[in-house]
Amino acid sequence: MQVTLALLAAAVSTLLLAWIGLRDAKRLRVQEGDSASRQPFTSHRRRLLALAAATPGVLLLAGGWWSSTVMWLGGTVTLVWLWVLWIGRARESRAMRRGQRIGASG
């Protein structure tokens, strides 16, 4: 039960944090260049999503699920860290492929 709860909570938080990361202004600028089709989130929206991402942990804590809370925190930071590594690599290789195509056609 504790692991299931922690997994669910970590999944929700990771998705929300990944969404923030996907529309993060600095990430979009350095990884996708000026031509990025997505608009970055406003600070207000980022804060709102960050608050929503923290909510599962707060709920677990309020419910007295100490072990699930700790696992939620650990799971979320690990998953988001891995996601940041993956998205950095994936975006970069996509950008490189796009560059190669443009070079070949030009």
């Binding site: 039960m1 692991v3 993060d24 350095v30 072990s67 930071v77 860290w81 590594l85 993956w86 970069e92």
Partner: protein, 530 residues
């Protein structure tokens, strides 16, 4: 953004680097061995799996083994008995007394037994000081060696624990100064500048460090507390609270359960107490401690694994003479207290065993991330100072420790199996293997053009060989394990093979080379994990 003046930032950067540099290589060793120590039970089960239909170590049937063993033990060792499962779920009991060493520290001395869980007979008997006995008990040799390396770096007590405590404090300083030095912590949480190799190494270090910040603080604090409490905290408390006497301090910690009565009395059925404890907590017992065996005031303390919600174990006290339930005992002292609860949380948070393999796997990943941050930080620091010969050499030492340590750890496991196959004591072999691997890794760093690649390839070969060596040296095969409840052994074998594949891939992958600093850099930043 954390607002700091440029001068303050420079000071913080200096603290961040200089607090870490003297101890960072040892910190890396403590972190990597900590990753292993999280799985110490599984490593024990894997290295010394015992096949055969048998009840769990602390299942009913244990009581008669203890009574039979107690009859063979000098009554002066009836002062306390510790009963718990060890490698391969073997039942272990240690009848002992506490003595004070000339240096003032308390140590346990007595008789240890391993029992056969199927018929309760004694398999092995050892007499001596607890640490020596645990080292001589071969089934847990490998796990204990790795745990000791994490806890004290195999340096004699108290110096080893003082050193690892200092390392924990250094990690705390590095973490806090890193937080202050990283001015745009939130803004950079998602940014990896892969197009600028010079910045990528820094980004990989900063992103891993930033996301892992809560756990760096948590593990640093709990680790230094656990390391420093026995060699430093206890003597200080005894000195100021009890005029240097440690015995009344321990009585306060342990919360002596029953009024003293040395009248001899037979022990009641401990199995019945365990059944009662199971029904009260709904969890399984982790260990049993018995005080004053065979006396009217005998107390049986049953520690149960934490329930679904908690991080802390539940402890019950029973009267050893009549088997009656006495009380639920707090972690420290007689009555529940905030200090006692905090003390219990420290253990739960540091070891990460509260939710079985799931929490252990998580703690492993978090420690892995911290080890990566430490190694990448060291390489960045030395890289920026390549112009100085001393730092260039320190960069080579970093490669030696960073990539040589996994080779040494895998060599320890190899030596353990070979020693057991040869029928000799494994401790000496493991120690020799550790130092031999360290020397070979040093020579590789000195002579090879790309030591990192060679050391990673050596790690891959050793990890891939371990499951085979385990089996060839008398361990159970996979077909034998499939039908048993020892699926964990197969899981560890597979994890080693995955680790070998990962190390091999990392050794073949071209490094994401940062632009050389002036003059030309000879030290490479590590590739991102994964």
């Amino acid at each position: 953004m954390i607002p700091l003046s440029p001068k303050r930032t420079q000071t913080m950067m200096a603290i961040h680097g200089w607090a870490g540099i003297p101890l960072a290589l040892l910190l890396y060793v403590v972190l990597v061995t900590g990753m292993m120590a999280v799985f110490s039970k599984e490593i024990g089960d894997w290295s010394s799996a015992s096949l055969g239909d048998a009840p769990a170590a602390l299942d009913p049937g244990m009581s008669r083994s203890l009574v039979a063993a107690a009859a063979t033990v000098d009554p002066r060792f009836h002062e306390a008995v510790a009963v718990y499962p060890v490698a391969g779920d073997r039942l272990w009991a240690f009848f002992h007394r506490h003595d004070v060493a000339p240096d003032g520290f308390v140590f346990a001395h007595g008789v240890g037994f391993e029992f056969d869980r199927r018929d309760g007979r004694i398999v092995e008997r050892f007499e001596g000081v607890e640490d020596d006995i645990n080292r001589a008990h071969e089934p847990r040799g490998l796990a204990k060696f790795l745990v000791d390396l994490h806890v004290s770096l195999h340096i004699p007590f108290p110096w080893g624990m003082l050193l690892t405590g200092a390392i924990g404090l250094a990690l705390l300083v590095i973490t806090i100064s890193g937080l202050l030095v990283h001015r745009y912590l939130i803004r950079d949480l998602f940014t990896l500048r892969r197009r600028v190799p010079k910045l990528l190494s820094r980004d990989l270090h900063a992103v891993a460090g930033s996301w892992n910040l809560p756990f760096a603080v948590l593990l640093a604090f709990t680790g230094s507390y656990l390391s420093l409490f026995v060699p430093l905290g206890q003597p200080v408390i005894a000195q100021f609270g009890y005029g240097g006497e440690q015995t009344p301090m321990f009585e306060l910690f342990e919360g002596a359960a029953l009024a003293e009565d040395p009248t001899p009395a037979p022990m009641s059925d401990i199995d019945a107490m365990l059944i009662d404890a199971r029904s009260r907590s709904g969890t399984s017992p982790d260990r049993v401690d018995i005080l004053h065996w065979g006396r009217q005031d005998a107390a049986v303390l049953v520690s149960m694994s934490p329930d679904d919600r908690d991080l802390r174990p539940t402890r019950y006290v029973y009267s050893g003479a009549n088997g009656a339930f006495v009380a639920q005992r707090p972690g420290l002292g007689k009555a529940p207290s905030a200090g006692g609860a905090a003390n219990e949380f420290v253990g739960g948070l540091h070891f990460g065993r509260f939710a079985g393999v799931a929490s252990k796997a998580l703690w492993f990943s978090l420690a892995f991330c911290l080890a990566y941050v430490t190694l990448s930080g060291l390489l960045l620091w030395t890289q920026r100072r390549q112009a100085t010969v001393l730092w260039r050499r320190f960069g080579h030492v970093t490669i030696w420790v960073g990539y040589g340590l996994p080779v040494a750890l895998a060599s320890i496991a190899l030596a353990y199996f070979l020693a057991r196959a040869a029928g000799v004591a494994s401790y000496g072999w493991m120690l020799a293997a550790y130092f031999c691997a360290a020397v070979i890794a040093a020579l590789t760093c000195w002579l090879a053009s790309d030591p990192r690649q060679r050391l990673l390839a050596a790690t891959a070969s050793l990890l891939a060989a371990l499951p085979l060596v385990r089996w060839l040296s008398g361990g159970p095969s996979w077909p034998q394990l499939v039908g048993s409840d020892l699926g964990m052994v197969i899981a560890v074998d597979l994890a080693l093979l995955v680790g070998a594949a990962w190390a091999l891939r990392a050794s073949r992958r071209p490094l994401e080379m940062p632009e050389p600093a002036e003059p030309a850099s000879t030290v490479d930043a590590p590739a991102a994990p994964g």
